[in-house]
């Protein structure tokens, strides 16, 4: 039976929800607002929220000083490349773990997840040296490899959870109906798992797009994505807040729009398994 919820409770819960949402969104909102201020207004104290002279100068300056579209292109290549390769590896891996588990499958999954517990800086030096020696420094290929490997545990976990929800009976029925392994995956499993695969893909694109540690440390000029583009406006003197904000806004805008339009899919993918 559904529990009756009083109007007062509903109002409190809704207000609390909006407050938390606003609190999380506030830094992004502040960045966007600052990007329309002059450098002087950006550091003014007390700061003004909306009452300032709105200007687009920062955006023009940023585009003049650095090539936004080159960084944008790098970000697209790196995030999509690592996602596509990651999925190509993770779909069969998750299939086998979900439907033909071995004695140690759970341990393998835990081990994969444990790699995420290691602070990335712990492997920076060896990885940097490997990249230097193999000529992968400041290349898109190098970044695609690193980001694929970094996000692979999460993709495998997500797909594994998703596949596990698909009843084994249906795959057995397909086998009884004469389907080969390829036909079983192609005609039965994949169409049933498309929502899960789609949300995994989206999440991975977002993670790869926002990844800053490796992209900053392994690139210089050629392969630098938007994260490096933002960082180039951060100076120790802190004199370019408005430009930095404009660069940040330009960098997060594409992923923000993508996330906004696919939020339903994302939430479904992230809560899958928790709610049937």
């Amino acid at each position: 039976m559904a529990r009756a919820v009083s109007n007062r409770r509903k109002i409190i819960a809704t207000t609390a929800g909006w407050l938390v949402g606003l609190l999380i969104f506030f830094p992004i909102l502040w960045t966007i607002l600052t990007s329309f201020k002059t450098e002087a207004e950006a550091i003014a104290s007390p700061p003004s929220l909306l009452a300032f002279d709105w200007t687009l100068d920062n955006y023009f300056t940023v585009q003049e000083r650095s090539n936004y579209f080159r960084h944008f292109f790098n970000s697209v290549v790196i995030s999509l490349g690592s996602t596509v390769i990651g999925l190509a590896i993770a779909v069969p891996a998750a299939w086998s773990m979900a439907f033909v588990p071995a004695k140690r499958t759970k341990d393998v999954l835990m081990w994969m997840l444990s790699t995420k517990m290691l602070p990335p800086v712990g492997v920076l030096v060896p990885l940097y040296l490997i990249f230097r020696d193999t000529g992968l420094l400041d290349t898109r290929v190098g970044l695609v490899i690193v980001l694929t490997l970094i996000n692979l545990p999460i993709i495998v976990w997500m797909l594994f959870t998703y596949f596990r929800e698909i009843p084994g009976d249906i795959l057995e029925a397909a086998r009884m109906d004469g389907a080969s392994l390829k036909a079983e995956i192609l005609y039965v499993l994949t169409p049933m798992a498309i929502p899960g695969i789609a949300s995994t893909l989206l999440l991975n694109v977002i993670l790869a797009w926002n990844e800053a540690f490796w992209t900053l440390n392994l690139t210089a000029a050629n392969a630098a994505p938007l994260t490096a583009f933002i960082a180039s406006y951060s100076s120790p003197e802190g004199l370019f807040y408005a430009k930095l904000s404009a660069a940040s806004t330009m960098a997060i805008a594409p992923i923000l729009i993508l996330g906004w339009f696919s939020q339903k899919q994302l939430v479904r993918g992230l809560t899958f398994g928790a709610v049937k």
């Binding site: 057995e172 009884m176 004469g178 389907a179």
Partner: protein
């Protein structure tokens, strides 16, 4: 053709043997029911025949050819699952046509066979619907449709009616029996419901802890159960078992008497007791009778009009010709 022979078939999961070596022959066109309590290995046995589980030891032959290592798709068998296992993203038409598509039949022939199966199963008007838009009974019919279009050597049913409500179950039971009459194809049917077993089977295989307790026609099992387990499992309500002096009088360790083979009376009879719970079904009444020297009540079937109530004294007279005698190992005494 659908003759299936199991020779010394054994199944273990790790160190646990769920089916000790067993032999079984299923003749072409037979309707065989595997029956037994939960966990007795009946579904595992069916899955071994289907090829969904590998046998640990022994051989399976289908129509005279070796099938032990043949993958499920190549055994020429069709299976209907308890959960229906329909493809949720496909329409009824595509679900039924799926095995034909996998077999590489051309579209025209696929459609022809789908239409024929849909007609038999009264599904013609639902062909463009998805499984989610159908009732439980309709879904089960789609699952059967998917099995019959293949024209398999044998049908395997894994508790196909367990998810249906009681009324629908009776209807589907008749439909499956009629289908068997019409197709004359071998059917192997797994159930824990002995009423389904008795009403549908040509041959019943009673399983207990992976071991075949008895194989025979429903009436053979009812009339001459080989041991206490079969005697207690077949028949509804269950057979009454009596030990002690009454059994010793008849040169047995235990005697069994079915509720329908005891005559109740309010005036005189062989055994005296008091009426406990009485279940009035209209056509029949079941009395649970408590007797002084017995912990368990004796169940008696009487006509619908017998007027006895809780606490009344009742006299019971067993039909001597219908008493089953068992020795101290629980085996039938001829």
């Amino acid at each position: 053709m659908g003759r299936i022979v199991l020779q010394e078939v054994k199944k273990s999961f790790g160190h646990v043997t769920v089916i000790p070596p067993l032999d079984l022959e299923i003749e072409d066109g037979e309707f065989v029911v595997f029956v037994g309590p939960s966990g007795c290995g009946k579904s595992t046995l069916l899955r071994l025949i289907a090829g969904l589980e590998d046998v640990t030891d022994g051989r399976i032959q289908i129509d005279g050819s070796e099938a032990t290592a043949v993958p499920p798709a190549k055994r020429g068998l069709a299976m209907v699952f308890q959960s229906y296992a329909l493809y949720p993203h496909m329409t009824v038409r595509k679900n039924i046509a799926f095995p034909l598509r996998m077999a590489g039949l051309d579209k025209a022939e696929q459609e022809e066979r789908v239409q024929a199966a849909a007609k038999v199963l009264n599904l013609s008007e639902y062909l463009d619907r998805r499984p989610g838009q159908l009732s439980g009974g309709q879904r089960q019919r789609v699952a059967i449709g998917r099995a019959i279009v293949r024209e398999p050597a044998a049908f395997l049913f894994d508790e196909p009616l367990s998810n249906l409500d009681a009324a629908l179950r009776v209807g589907m039971r008749l439909e499956i029996s009629e289908l068997h009459e019409r197709l004359k194809t071998t059917m192997i049917y797994v159930t824990h419901d002995q009423v389904e077993a008795m009403t549908m089977a040509d041959k019943i295989v009673v399983l207990h802890a992976g071991v075949i307790e008895q194989v025979g026609s429903p009436l053979e099992l009812y009339r001459t159960p080989r041991n206490l387990f079969v005697a207690g499992f077949i028949g509804s309500p269950n057979m009454n078992f009596v030990t002690g002096p009454e059994a010793a009088k008849r040169d047995a360790h235990t005697i069994g008497i079915r509720p329908e083979h005891i005559t109740p009376s309010s005036t005189d009879g062989a055994w005296k007791g008091k009426v406990g719970v009485s279940e009035h079904l209209g056509s029949d009444t079941f009395f649970h009778v408590h007797m002084e020297d017995r912990p368990d009540p004796i169940t008696v079937r009487a006509g619908g009009e017998v007027n006895l109530h809780h606490g009344d004294t009742i006299y019971l007279t067993p039909d001597e010709s219908c008493i089953h005698r068992f020795d101290d190992r629980g085996l039938r005494i001829a």
